[in-house]
Symmetry: C2
Subunit: 392 residues, 2 copies
């Protein structure tokens, strides 16, 4: 191979292998729930009406994304999360991972510091580290970020003359803990962020799948015209992850700055057309049905963990989403457990990668339950418990 690469690249990907029998990783969803017939019908209708516009980048419209879909996102988030604002505050992106990359590329420089939740989305931790940016984890309880700890971290950083570039938070169906931050804490968090001039990057990827309580107003909604919050979300969890369609909501100057960094000549039009046509009449009913299915799986997962692991594991019933977060006794090493589990055809996310303090995460792990059926959930948790007991 002649091509010579930079010396600081991540390791090359290995050869792809199909998932093992018991796969509890990744944001996959319930296969039987994917509304593919509805999406197909919607797309046929949309193409019959305006298929020739595929000849133009962005269907001949704004690079912010297909306008009817931005209108749906704006109105849906108005209704569900209380966010005010029109389609020009919405940037459609190629999956919410692109939202993370755009915001990071716009705001972060190597050596910067950001705040994250002590347990948080692993893909964000790896992104931040790859950029040479420091992250500090804020403690979580059942209601999300512990504000006293946040304040003490901000005070401590201030003595070092460090202004964190943002706080990244997943307040609704927190990843991986599955908690939902109550409304009063959201108001207090926003007040604290204003007091310290701390921008908030709010990720509500899973918020459409909230069943354990009423979905609270988002931080972005509570902020009103404050300009304190950049918000992102996705259709991956509510419709299908193989569609690569997410969105950023922010003030227009922010949206236009992010757009200048979005150099992919637009997000896929077939997917935007299909969603824009399907969602207005079908989104709510579909998501309600999907949540029923996911809740059944969540209940089965939590019951299996409790029955198989007993007192060895703490687990909390998730308020929505597709994952549970397990805490083992001190001294447990879930990185090692993952290796042993792989030998037994089981995969899960070790907690170290899902934590700001990797050491803190070592006695924890995440199990995803969106894709596996009930028998696989029960069989896989039993098999994992067997591997765990053998490791003691």
């Amino acid at each position: 191979m002649l091509a010579s690469f930079r010396s600081d690249l991540p390791a090359a990907s290995g050869t792809w292998q199909p998932p093992p029998e018991y796969s509890f990783v990744g944001g996959h969803n319930d296969a039987a729930s994917v509304p593919f017939s509805g999406l197909a019908e919607a797309l046929v209708n949309a193409l019959r009406r305006e298929g020739s516009n595929l000849a133009y980048y962005n269907l001949g419209g704004s690079p912010l994304g297909y306008r009817p879909l931005r209108e749906f996102v704006a109105s849906q988030l108005g209704a569900r999360a209380g966010i005010q604002g029109g389609p020009d505050q919405v940037l459609m992106v190629s999956g919410s991972l692109q939202a993370l990359d755009l915001v990071n590329n716009a705001m972060l420089t190597p050596g910067d510091t950001v705040l994250v939740e002590q347990a948080t989305y692993g893909g964000m931790v790896s992104r931040i580290e790859r950029m040479g940016v420091n992250h500090v984890g804020i403690e979580l309880d059942n209601g999300g970020i512990v504000l006293d700890h946040l304040r003490s971290v901000l005070d401590e950083l201030r003595t070092q003359d460090i202004s964190p570039r943002y706080l990244y938070t997943i307040p609704t169906v927190q990843n991986p803990t599955g908690s939902v931050m109550p409304l009063d804490r959201r108001r207090a968090l926003l007040g604290l962020a204003r007091e310290y001039s701390l921008p908030i990057f709010e990720d509500e990827c899973y918020a459409d799948l909230t069943w354990g309580c009423e979905r609270p107003l988002s931080l972005r909604a509570l902020d009103g015209d404050g300009g304190q919050v950049i918000y992102c979300g996705s259709f991956s969890k509510s419709i299908a992850p193989a569609l690569r369609v997410g969105y950023v909501i922010a003030d227009e100057p922010v949206i236009r700055q992010l757009l200048a960094l979005k150099t992919d000549a637009g997000t896929g039009s077939l997917e935007q057309l299909a969603l824009a046509e399907y969602c207005p009449s079908n989104f709510t009913e579909h998501v309600d049905r999907l949540m029923y299915t996911l809740r059944t799986k969540a209940d089965a997962m939590v019951a299996a963990v409790r029955s198989e692991f007993g007192d060895n594991v703490q687990v909390t019933e998730p308020m929505g989403g597709i994952y549970v977060w397990l805490t083992f006794p001190a001294g447990t090493n879930t990185d090692a457990l993952a290796l042993a589990a792989n030998q037994a055809g089981i995969e899960f996310n070790p907690g170290s990668g899902w934590s700001s303090d990797h050491e803190w995460g070592k006695r924890r792990l995440r199990l995803c339950f969106g894709a596996p059926d009930l028998d696989t959930i029960r069989g896989g948790v039993a098999a994992l418990a067997q591997v765990y007991r053998a490791s003691l």
Copy 2:
């Protein structure tokens, strides 16, 4: 706005405006030729068969992309461009712009030097400059890169101890000149690149639209197992630009390194499914029909330029694609002409942005003819000539 951005960002995007009456920019295509009914039918069939796989990232398969589409790309490029190799040497990307970004991110560090054609794709010039990388333009004639000049540049750089990281070339339907490099020059270019250990980044985005001659074997094909060439292509020009589907072809270690940098969780599945289902039976016939239409537009564009501008402009009939490249007398400033033309409802690409030496490009410009109809082509060129004469 509280969010504070890095100080080195490109300017925020302006508010989107619809195109003017005479729009001759962008890779748009002929609207009447988009096979949207065929794509819709194909997608319905594919979803009926495997729609529930949308529940999984990458449809449950390899992150390289949907395997039947990678197989089509491999076999199609075998037949059309002589490239040998199977689907594991194909990485599907979210438009070929992502291919440019992946290769650049893998190979380039600020301060590096790359070689480009003296007139080349503007989006590549801006990417390279944004990365703080130097580019040196190699002279072109009607057969593409002038090899004597390439050798003298390589020798000159060698005296400065500079090894260019790659040569970026568009040998087939060169953007913007529309030339096709003959086979014997391709062989000689490859020999020179081997002699100087110069990796080649071959962009054949427009090569499916070659009508002025037989499409020659690609550099990647001629290289065989040499590992000298990374190749990219796209469905944007052959099917529709609003689909964001392109591909990289390279040796497997290169593909796996690029994949490790592709952090978007996969390219859109609806678009990959539609293409994989549509293309095997329809691609060749569709592209043949499309080329007939584009050639008619190219002829009209060249005839209009010659008749309206006469001796004031040199223009060459393109061998394919969707653009022509105009050279004006010394002293012309097409940046200024563009501003005046915009006032008259005309847009084109000034040559400065499409050239490694921006000053050299100032007497040149690019006109795209894929999207406008014949009347718009004729009317727009006449209107542009009027603006030009008024500027003299």
